[in-house]
């Protein structure tokens, strides 16, 4: 396989001189593609006339691998899907398995799942905001945001022993109960995190250059967002009020009081704002969940190691940091799934890149790509 780009288009300018289109190959290893994405950019001067994402550089065939593993052995694979938010894929997969096998999850486990997923949302949004800032050259903002993420990662490490690939949510419950003093540290984090968020708000959204770089760039209309299957902050930034936690409630989310921040302009700025406000909301949910958390077991009683559900297919989805993450499992009765499909939000959101980047400058292309917040483990699977 070669890395050649398709032939350049030659046109004639008004004065009859031949003008050649400039084709720039961004990626697959580029500092601001957030992984291994390749974008073939056709430029007219600095203006992007066409941007075509080429994905699949991290396609590992996880869906094929799932077919040869038992239901429990698939869980570690789901960690590697969305490596910025491993908990989501864990949970979505486990929900689908539980639906298929009819497993009832104890309430405490549900609360723990909500807490870790909201923590993961903060961690993921910090990564997204930070790397979007780094795309415009603000490395310091990235480091400040990453510091917040680092605190959450430490908390996760104390909870389940891993910094990144947690394998925490299992079919029927979660793997570990919370250690002593953990909730206090979590609540302390929520308090300091709000301060840090305000600081970042001032440093990043209050900066005149940053506003100039984000406002009016990569505008996505609400209709387009719905039709193209966008979800998560990308859709909510355009004013599409669609959040599975609220509109298709799952787990114990109906018991919490929280808001869904939405944007109006649908530009990069609004998408980033939505992410920032979601961090505040996540803090609220965490505090409520910690206060309400009941005692009891963290794993379903009498669960067998080898889950072999009856034939059928089940789909379940949760709201991940990037949008609605769905898992579709087909069982033919054996101990291994017949087919597992991960509906990844980043994959659908990334398809919007040609739509929102066209007509902007090359500098804006990386900002647009960053605002879609793709994680290529999830896009390519």
């Amino acid at each position: 396989m070669t890395l050649e780009v398709e032939s350049r288009k030659e046109t004639l300018a008004e004065d009859g001189l031949p003008v050649e289109e400039l084709v720039v190959n961004v990626g697959p290893s580029h500092p601001s593609t957030h992984g291994v994405c390749r974008v073939i950019v056709h430029l007219d001067g600095e203006i992007v006339t066409r941007a075509e994402p080429v994905i699949g550089y991290l396609h590992r065939g996880i869906e094929k691998m799932c077919e040869n593993r038992t239901y429990l052995q698939v869980v570690p694979l789901t960690d590697r899907l969305d490596y910025v938010g491993s908990m989501y894929a864990n949970w979505a997969y486990c929900r689908a398995v539980e639906r298929l096998a009819g497993i009832r999850v104890p309430e405490r486990a549900e609360y723990l799942r909500v807490i870790v997923c909201e923590m993961q949302r903060i961690a993921s949004h910090m990564m997204s905001l930070g790397s979007a800032a780094a795309d415009t050259g603000a490395a310091t903002m990235f480091i400040y945001a990453f510091d917040e993420r680092e605190t959450i990662v430490e908390l996760f490490e104390d909870l389940c022993g891993a910094r990144l690939t947690y394998n925490y949510v299992r079919p029927g419950g979660v793997s570990f109960d919370i250690p002593e003093g953990w909730t206090d540290r979590l609540l302390e984090f929520c308090r300091t995190h709000r301060v840090a968020l305000r600081e970042m708000d001032k440093l990043w959204f209050g900066n005149v250059i940053a506003r100039g770089r984000m406002k009016g760039i990569g505008v996505l209309a609400a209709d387009d967002a719905v039709a193209w299957g966008a979800s998560g902050p990308v859709a909510r930034g355009s004013g599409v009020n669609w959040d599975l936690r609220k509109h298709d409630p799952y787990s114990v989310y109906p018991r919490f009081d929280f808001d869904i921040p939405t944007g109006s302009a649908g530009d990069v700025y609004d998408r980033a704002r939505v992410r920032l406000y979601e961090c505040y909301e996540s803090c609220r949910i965490i505090e409520q969940a910690v206060a309400q958390m009941p005692g009891g077991p963290i794993k379903a009683e009498g669960l067998q190691r080898l889950i072999a559900p009856r034939p059928g297919d089940a789909y379940d989805h949760i709201e991940s940091a990037r949008g609605s993450l769905g898992v579709y499992i087909v069982s033919e009765g054996g101990p291994r799934p017949h087919r597992v499909k991960f509906r990844s939000p980043a994959f659908c959101n990334l398809a919007l890149l040609p739509l929102i980047a066209e007509g902007h400058m090359l500098s804006d292309l990386v900002v647009c790509l960053g605002s879609l917040d793709p994680v290529f483990g999830e896009v390519d699977r």
Binding site: M1, G56, A227, W242, A314, Y315, Y328, R339, F347
Partner: protein, 153 residues
């Protein structure tokens, strides 16, 4: 709206689709034949299913089952749309004209299963390199470079 209300609503609006509707694991499933897929899909879109959440396929031996998951924002309900295409001539209509979201998802199905979608504007491989041979998610896919995991259980 729950799933039974959806069934009643569907039967009211599209009586021809009513007998194809069933409920599995709490989800509504509409199984149609593949030449009717496009009409059924446009009917569902008119009913208020404005989002194409997921498109995928399942290898069922003799046939491939093409599965679409549609979601309605106004009704807060999801539905499966399924059809079977024969393995020897995998071909069906693209839903790209109805939901642009199908653009990449159907490309992925083509890449992984080799199902051809008529009316799709850009039917190329998406995840694998263009010169890849075979469609990996078919159950009979073989590859010399693939090492099968030993069966411990």
């Amino acid at each position: 709206m729950n799933i039974t209300e959806l069934r009643d609503h569907l039967c009211e609006q599209h009586p021809d689709l009513c007998p194809l509707f069933s409920i599995e694991f709490g989800d509504g499933v509409l199984s149609v034949s593949c030449d009717k897929l496009y009409e059924a899909a446009s009917g569902l879109r008119d009913l208020g299913f404005d989002r194409l959440g997921m498109a995928t396929a399942v290898d069922r031996g003799e046939t491939f089952e093409v599965v679409y998951r549609l979601t309605s924002r106004s009704m807060s309900v999801g539905i499966f749309l399924k059809c079977h295409v024969p393995r020897d001539a995998p071909k069906t209509n693209s839903l790209f004209p109805l939901w642009p979201a199908a653009l990449w998802q159907e490309r992925e199905i083509f890449d992984m299963f080799g199902i051809d979608f008529e009316g799709h504007p850009d039917m190329r491989r998406i995840l694998l390199p263009d010169d890849w041979v075979g469609h990996p998610l078919r159950r009979d896919y073989t590859d010399d470079r693939m090492i099968r995991r030993p069966d411990y259980i």
